[in-house]
């Protein structure tokens, strides 16, 4: 087999584009989970972001406003989940699933008049001189602003969680909400904020799908990306930097599979498609088996409702 025509640089550029919506949604979900909330509504928030972002961008003509609109849409719809789970103590798993259902329906209704429209183009960030540099120029300076922002966001989340007092408090809510409460922190409010941050990130990821990756709006276009984001958080063992690794690896497997086919190499799509999930399970097992390490990463109160006793 002749692999020489597989251009590694081009493939990396492609996989980063494919991975960015997953990355954005996953880093948001990570923050929510770190605060102790399991939100299975990522897919619903993403599709809402995809449609609100698309509507904003096409009406204003500005892709940047579109991304903001997507993030806002995702954050707004996530408040439904936040209110129900934090103040009405509804079960997070069930509420998250309901959110996905609601979001898919609402997005389809909202987008009914936006079929067949091309959104304004999101330009790549050209760095004079550097973008034209061979290999490195393409590898580092050939992306749109959102891709840089997504990496920055991962850094910011890492910094916030590990280097700031606010991050410490947020993690405390996820580790032991009773203790955080007795220290005087408003667990519900903190979680509310974390859920909205997750919603904004998911919405931004959705907008990236409808404005950059496949610039168009069609019903159900996120096609399960939100669920993959959930897997990536686990794969990353709740560590921000590993979310990048996970998202890019997942994107990489998809791109590699398609590129190998384009090269003329037959591979079984179905078996290859399951590998990321199996790898995620293996990582989860390895990580969980070491109880000491697991206790540092996996939030102990994940998915558990907090009732402040009066």
């Amino acid at each position: 087999m002749d692999f020489s025509s597989l251009n590694a640089v081009a493939m990396i550029v492609l996989l980063i584009g494919a991975a960015t919506p997953i990355l954005l949604a996953a880093i948001g979900e990570l923050v929510a989970e770190k605060s102790g909330v399991l939100n299975l509504g990522v897919e619903g928030m993403m599709i809402i972001g995809a449609v609100t972002g698309f509507i904003t961008a096409t009406t204003t003509g500005s892709p940047m406003l579109g991304f903001a609109g997507g993030a806002l849409g995702g954050a707004l719809v996530s408040t439904l989940f936040a209110f129900l789970t934090q103040y009405l103590h509804s079960n997070q798993v069930a509420t998250g699933l309901a959110l996905t259902m609601f979001g898919l329906g609402l997005a389809a209704l909202m987008g009914r008049n936006y079929n067949g429209i091309k959104p304004p183009r999101t330009d790549r960030l050209e760095v004079p001189g550097l973008s034209d540099f061979p290999v490195l120029g393409e590898l580092l300076f050939s992306y749109d602003p959102i891709i840089y922002f997504s990496v920055f966001l991962v850094f910011a989340v890492w910094w916030f969680l590990n280097r700031t007092r606010g991050g410490l408090v947020l993690r405390a809510c996820g580790e032991n909400h009773d203790a955080a409460h007795s220290l005087g922190y408003n667990v519900q409010l903190i979680r509310f904020g974390a859920i909205m941050f997750g919603g904004a990130c998911a919405g931004l990821g959705g907008a990236y799908v409808s404005l950059v990756r496949v610039p168009q709006w069609t019903e159900g276009m996120t096609a399960g990306v939100g669920w993959i984001a959930l897997a990536i958080v686990v794969f990353a063992s709740w560590k921000p930097w590993r979310v990048i690794l996970g998202a890019y690896m997942f994107g990489g497997i998809t791109i590699l599979q398609l590129s190998l086919q384009a090269l003329g190499i037959s591979i079984s799509g179905a078996y290859l498609s399951m590998t990321p999930y199996i790898v995620t399970i293996v990582v989860l097992v390895i990580m969980s088996a070491d109880r000491k390490r697991a206790s540092i990463n996996a939030p102990a109160c994940l998915g558990r409702s907090f009732h402040a006793s009066h």
């Binding site: 025509s5 251009n7 081009a10 493939m11 492609l14 584009g17 494919a18 919506p21 389809a108 987008g111 009914r112 079929n115 067949g116 429209i117 091309k118 799908v209 990756r213 496949v214 610039p215 168009q216 069609t218 019903e219 159900g220 276009m221 996120t222 096609a223 399960g224 990306v225 998809t254 791109i255 398609l258 590129s259 086919q261 384009a262 090269l263 003329g264 190499i265 037959s266 079984s268 799509g269 179905a270 498609s273």
Partner: protein, 358 residues
């Protein structure tokens, strides 16, 4: 006594008469069952365009209804039954997976006509219809073969089923006929609709030097990528030039309107019967969108000629000599593939690289 009886009879007759007069004024009801949302801009959207064409044609004389995103199986059976019970005269079931449900429900409602798209099971009140999309693929294959400069044509394929394999073979034979050096790169994405993955596939193909892309998936994602990367592509199912004003060379159009209008008209005349329609360019079920001015005049002329020849029946895309991929003879010189073989086509023709997944 006698008088009242007569009166009653007359009244009953009058009622019956007015009843039948009423029936004449009663619009014909046509129901449509869709597998996806009408906003998919692909398969379901084209069928809904057909439904709208029926409404436009007959106005008040017809009443149409539809249900979107109906899963194939028990749900489909239920929706069909409900439609039949509500007094619908003809039901179009527009996905292959509705085949068995259609047959089952049709048996329970012998007075309702059913038409099932792309299947192969018929009954007294179940017709089938499908389009010879491979004819359209032959036309675009020729254009692709003439337009490619790298001699590499990319093909985004959904599932390895006869319909898709037929399209690949037809397009390849056509491309080869105008460009002996042409090479096909087929990528199977195992989905009908996943814009993200379709976009990835287009990107991966372009990366491999492909400069013309064909697709057999539903979304316009590949077209948008082609536009962005400056390569050519063909619209699938509908005109996608809005997504690729520079990229789209032409498009294969799924044009169900004429068939739907004809069948609903047959219900009105009372002449409907179960038929197996497999129409192509000739009958207008498969259309070719206007050519892009990027296509040179001689290629346009050739394509126009091909369209005419296919429409008249003079040219059949699968005319021998054609060998199978392994080199064995499929069609002898001058031999034309019969519909039965085409319906179950499960091999590549000679010259296509790569293995057909089983």
């Amino acid at each position: 006594m006698k008088f009242t009886k007569t009166l009653a009879a007359a009244a009953a007759m009058g009622l019956a008469l007015s009843g039948s007069a009423y029936a004449d004024a009663d619009p014909v009801k046509a129901g449509f069952i869709y597998v996806g949302p009408i906003g998919d801009l692909g398969w379901t959207w084209t069928h809904d365009q057909g439904r709208l064409a029926v409404e436009a044609e007959y106005g008040d004389r017809v009443e149409t209804s539809y249900v979107e995103s109906v899963p194939e199986g028990a749900d489909a059976e239920r929706v069909m039954s409900q439609m039949a019970r509500s007094g619908v005269d003809i039901i179009f079931t527009t996905s292959f997976g509705y085949m068995d449900p259609t047959i089952n429900v049709a048996a329970e409602f012998p007075d309702v006509a059913f038409a099932h798209a792309t299947g192969y099971k018929r009954a007294e009140n179940v017709a089938t219809y499908s389009a010879r999309f491979y004819e359209g693929r032959y036309v675009i294959g020729q254009i692709a073969g003439a337009m490619t400069e790298t001699n590499k044509i990319g093909y985004i394929a959904s599932f390895p089923i006869p319909e898709v394999v037929r399209g690949i073979n037809s397009a390849y034979l056509a491309a080869k006929s105008v460009n002996p050096d042409v090479e096909f790169k087929v990528v199977w994405v195992y989905t009908w609709f996943d814009p993200g993955k379709e976009a990835d596939a287009a990107n991966a193909l372009i990366e491999q030097g492909v400069d013309v892309i064909m697709q057999h998936t539903d979304s316009p994602a590949a077209m948008t990528i082609a536009e962005e990367k400056g390569v050519y592509a063909f619209g699938q199912a509908s005109d996608m030039s809005a997504f690729g004003p520079n990229a789209q060379l032409t498009a294969i159009l799924d044009n169900w309107g004429p068939y739907y209008i004809d069948r609903v008209g047959a219900i009105m005349d009372g002449t409907w019967e179960s038929t197996d329609v497999w129409d192509g360019i000739g009958a207008g079920m498969v259309g070719i969108a206007p050519f892009s001015d990027k296509i040179p005049a001689d290629v346009q002329a050739l394509a126009t000629e091909t369209i005419a020849a296919i429409a008249s029946g003079e040219l059949h895309p699968f005319t021998g000599p054609i060998n199978k991929q392994d080199g064995t003879v499929w069609l002898a010189d001058g031999e034309v593939a019969d519909d039965g073989t085409l319906a179950g086509l499960n091999f590549y023709v000679e010259g296509i690289d790569g293995e057909l997944p089983n």
